[in-house]
Amino acid sequence: MLKTAFLTFVVLCISIVGGGASVWYALKANESVGAVTIGEWTAFPSLGTPDADPYSKARVSREGLLALGRAEGLSFSAGHDSAGDALRRECSYRIEGAVPSARFWTLYAADAAGNVVRGGKRRPGALHSYQILHLPDNTVSIAAGAHPAPGNWLALSGEGPMTLVLTFFDTPIASSTGASDVTLPSIVRVACDA
């Protein structure tokens, strides 16, 4: 009798604790469901829509996200450079290459908690395509780092890991089929402050 009660208790413990913990872990760690990866950049075209998978839906509800709609734009984020190393705020990077067609795009750096990295006192922490200098072949070259750079400069500050967020607004790539065959700029590390 006591043995049966003990076994029932074991079954219930494993079920409830194991089931709850696995959901918590999946929502924390698993960010790859429904992702589209292009070079260093990753986007979630179906995040926050009714077609999204159950994990994305649960994450949207739990974190209170309101994702961009398809007619608004598509947001790509990058946490690693072209060599596969994590992006850091004390390093400087060159973001170079062609960008897909869009009405305009914005680029900013976010810290680990998702807050925007400010670029010192008088620099906004973001760039957009209307203020960017383009190269003759219509590609862009942007320097990102704490030290001022000629040309296009995305000012960073502080230290620690960061994510670069590149968002295209009013763009055909946000429709379901277009996101996989576009090219995005590469992120190359130039130097790091010791």
Binding site: G48, P50, G64, E72, F104, H128
Partner: protein, 180 residues
């Protein structure tokens, strides 16, 4: 020993069932979702800034730093809701979310004549009623038919540089979110 092994096996199967149940029920029971955060900040049918413009923490996470945004909750069971705002800004876009925060419809300023923001959100049944006798006020409005009762409208406005901040703030402040 064999019985303990059996109990462990049953426990793992049970964990799988609990995993699926928790995952599917989470959207219904989440307490910190966008709707709840907005409900704390403002009444229903009241447009409120969600990007933390006045130095307060943003209500909804991950708003682009070059954007201003405002949101308004609505309930279509009480009738269609109309949103309008006078003025011109470089770019605005609108998303309509259902109660669970899923994006059910979105459009931007290219969808309208001369970029004026004026639209009516309604259900299919209300659309049929409106078509029967089009009210005079609705002549120039965009109609957005959504399959949701309660929902959230978010209007985002692009701020290319600080000189536009006043104009976009005023644009968002003048949003009228009214039940028709």
């Amino acid at each position: 020993m064999l019985r303990l092994l059996y109990a462990l096996l049953v426990g793992i199967v049970g964990a799988g069932i609990v995993h699926i149940a928790v995952l599917l029920l989470l959207p219904q029971f989440a307490e910190r979702d966008a709707w709840s955060s907005l409900a704390e900040a403002a009444d229903i049918y009241k447009a409120v800034r969600i990007d933390g413009a006045d130095g307060s923490p943003p209500i909804v996470q991950a708003v682009d730093p070059l954007f201003h945004a405002a949101a308004c909750r609505f309930d279509l069971d009480e009738g269609p809701v109309r949103l309008s705002a006078p003025g011109a800004v470089p770019f605005w876009s609108v998303s309509i979310y259902n109660r669970a925060g899923q994006n059910v419809y979105s459009f931007n300023d290219r969808a309208t004549e001369r970029g004026a923001l004026d639209f009516v959100v309604l259900t299919r049944e209300q659309m049929i009623e409106v078509r029967k006798a089009m009210p005079e006020d609705f002549q120039k409005s965009i109609f957005v038919q959504v399959p949701t009762g309660e929902g959230i409208v978010v209007i985002r406005s692009f701020v290319p540089d600080p000189t536009w901040e006043k104009a976009t703030s005023e644009f968002l402040a003048r949003i009228a979110c009214t039940k028709e």
